[in-house]
């Protein structure tokens, strides 16, 4: 169990690194899909089965298809491959800070602990339609906001 968790976390880190540093948009999108897939497996291992299915199907599947379609339609991948200065140092520094924090926490025996009621027996229906109804409403409005953003940036003309 623990090995699976560490493997998933490592995979997320490596693919996350690749998606930020890749010069090709399609490679970046595929790396991002791999991050989501690893995250989905991690969620499944930790017992959040429904969330894992959503993560893999939506973030790893649907979103990647949309990304790749958009890149193919706009020829963005070719444009992005032009040589340019990349900030390689920042992700390395961030990863180094993360590694130091992990080592310090392991050495000092720091533990996040677990809460017994987290992810308790509440059914999916109960969570989706009752307890988190406010969030679902918020997500619906966020989708409308996203649709409005697409209209503004791709349909409306520039300032006259």
């Amino acid at each position: 169990m623990n090995i699976a968790i560490y493997v998933c976390l490592g995979a997320m880190l490596v693919f996350g690194f690749l998606s930020v540093l890749s010069r090709h948009l399609i490679n970046a999108a595929i790396s991002l899909a791999a991050v989501s897939a690893a995250c989905g497996v991690l969620m499944y291992v930790l017992g959040a089965h429904t969330a894992a299915i959503f993560e893999v199907s939506v973030c790893s599947g649907l979103v990647t298809v949309i990304f790749i379609s958009a890149v193919s339609l706009s020829n963005g991948d070719k444009q992005a491959s032009a040589p340019e200065k990349r900030a390689h140092l920042l992700p390395i520094i961030l990863i180094a800070i993360g590694a130091i924090l992990v080592i310090v926490s392991l050495l000092t025996g720091f533990s996040l602990g677990t809460h017994s009621t987290v992810g308790s027996a509440a059914s999916f229906d109960n969570v989706f339609w009752e307890t988190r109804q406010a969030d679902i409403f918020g997500q619906m409005v966020a989708i409308i906001a996203g649709a409005s953003a697409i209209v503004v940036f791709f349909k409306e003309s520039e300032k006259q």
Partner: protein, 486 residues
């Protein structure tokens, strides 16, 4: 169904309805109609919040729970309003109304999505004010954020997109901080509901689990500080305000940063009263913000940038009010939020008028404009005096309340420092007024005439409100005390 139950439904139903209607009409040819509808929604929200405030205070209850209409029958109550949130909902309605009045003049016919985005922004802020859970608060904060990015970059010029991009990147950082903070708090408390989070989370010796709560608090405060644009997280704010259309700047400066950032900090203050670390952080952030914002405002040449850095600076006084951590301090902070929203909205409305008539916002190119634009000059001076804390304008009373709250909470040094620092506000605004409206008229502006229409109505409305609230402030305070807010 009680009157309050009907009124509370309006905060979500009206913007949603306006969104649907706006997408059914041919918007390019009916821009004025759709903006008028949006102004109607804002007015209705202002009135609904005021009536709700009166009804709730008369009922003697501290809060009112409700749900979306189709869930209310099931007895669910995942939303809640109290006197504080109704007060803020009224502020949202007021600033949205002014933004719409300005939009009649500033938004061109090709910006048909303006009303859509404004309604989404309204839904986001209303949602933040009525939820009962820190995660739901975050969800609606993101909704407000998405609408803000798009509205800033709406005209797609390089400057607009740069402003939107900066805001988006820093908002992503805020998202990382907030989500990590929420995760840690969830691990510790097992819930993010306002009803279940208790100050006890931070009690006891500094062991690993208590440390977790402290780290969560630091991350949450940092995330909310980015959203409110306080120093040292302010770098996105002037660019975003300057590049956005004036109607959008009015929303951002007048209310969005206050609800997305400052209200979220108020939620933490109300959830964890007496938390010394939170109090200390707000004090430091508040003082740093007042000084840095004012010093940066002194160096700017653009009318909008001066107003933007002034927003940064004034945000510090609101934080100081909350940092007093007393009932009076919270009320002082809220009243400061209202009076600052009035004055800053007036200044951005003035910016819209100047941009429309002169085509520039560089104060060095202005001069003597009070002869040509007397209403704009009067409105600008009233706003300046209010922000600087000159009696008897509204800003004087709210600043006085913040200082009294700090003094009575034992923070006398901070109160004295805040009083001295208000001189800086006077300094940058005197410079602005002198360069823009007084002195010799620049011959370039001989043919300039006063702005008319929605912008002029807004300028007059805001000036009257600033003066009237100032003159009637003792009565306003008495009413709020009677209602139970004070």
């Amino acid at each position: 169904m009680s009157a309050l139950a009907v009124i509370t439904q309006l905060f979500l139903a009206l913007p949603l309805l306006a969104l649907v209607v706006n997408n059914l009409v041919p918007r390019e040819t009916m821009r004025h109609t759709t903006i008028g509808m949006s102004a109607g929604v804002a007015t209705a929200q202002l009135l609904a919040a005021i009536i709700g405030f009166v009804l709730l205070s008369a009922s003697g209850e501290s809060s009112f729970r409700f749900a979306l209409a189709w869930d209310a029958a099931k007895g669910l109550g995942y939303f809640r309003v109290d006197l504080v949130t109704l007060f803020l909902l009224a502020c949202v309605g007021l600033v949205s109304l002014i933004a719409n009045l300005t939009a009649f003049t500033t938004i061109d016919d090709h910006r048909s999505s303006f009303t859509n985005l404004l309604m989404v922004m309204l839904l986001g802020m209303n949602g933040m004010l009525i939820v009962r859970d820190l995660f739901s608060l975050y969800v609606f904060m993101e909704v407000t954020g998405i609408a803000s990015f798009v509205m800033i970059g709406m005209y797609k010029s390089t400057r607009d997109l740069e402003g939107a991009f900066k805001y988006m990147v820093l908002s992503m950082l805020a998202t990382i901080f907030i989500l990590t903070g929420l995760s840690l708090l969830f691990i510790k408390a097992g819930s993010l509901s306002f009803d279940l989070l208790r100050p006890a989370l931070f009690e006891g010796v500094v062991d690993a689990k208590t440390l977790l709560s402290w780290v969560a608090l630091v991350l949450l405060v940092s995330g909310y500080a980015i959203k409110s644009g306080v120093v040292p997280f302010h770098s996105w704010l002037p660019d975003a305000y300057e590049s956005a259309d004036s109607a959008v700047s009015i929303m951002l400066s007048g209310i969005v940063t206050k609800i997305a950032g400052v209200y979220s900090m108020l939620v933490l203050v109300r959830l964890f009263p007496g938390n010394m670390a939170l109090r200390g952080t707000l004090l430091v952030l508040g003082l740093l913000t007042i000084i840095t914002g004012a010093l940066l405002a002194l160096q700017q040449q653009s009318f909008k940038r001066i107003a933007a850095y002034s927003s940064v600076s004034q945000m510090g006084y609101i934080l100081l009010g909350f940092a007093a951590d007393t009932r009076l301090g919270i009320i002082a902070g809220l009243l400061y939020l209202l009076t600052h929203a009035l004055a800053k909205t007036a200044l951005f409305t003035n910016a819209a008028a100047l941009e429309k008539r002169l085509g520039t916002l560089n104060v060095n190119e202005m001069g003597g404009l009070q002869a040509k634009m007397p209403v704009t000059a009067f409105s600008s001076v009233a706003a300046l005096l209010s922000i600087a804390g000159v009696p008897p304008l509204a800003g004087f009373w709210s600043k006085l309340l913040v200082l009294i709250a700090l003094w009575s909470a034992g923070l006398r040094g901070v109160a004295a420092a805040a009083l001295l620092l208000s001189i800086l506000s006077g300094a940058y605004f005197l410079r602005l007024q002198k360069k823009a409206f007084f002195g010799k008229l620049n011959p370039r502006w001989n043919s300039v005439v006063e702005i008319t229409g929605g912008i002029q109505v807004s300028e007059l409305l805001l000036s009257i409100a600033t003066i009237a609230i100032g003159l009637l402030f003792p009565l306003v305070l008495l009413y709020l005390q009677h209602a139970g807010l004070v």
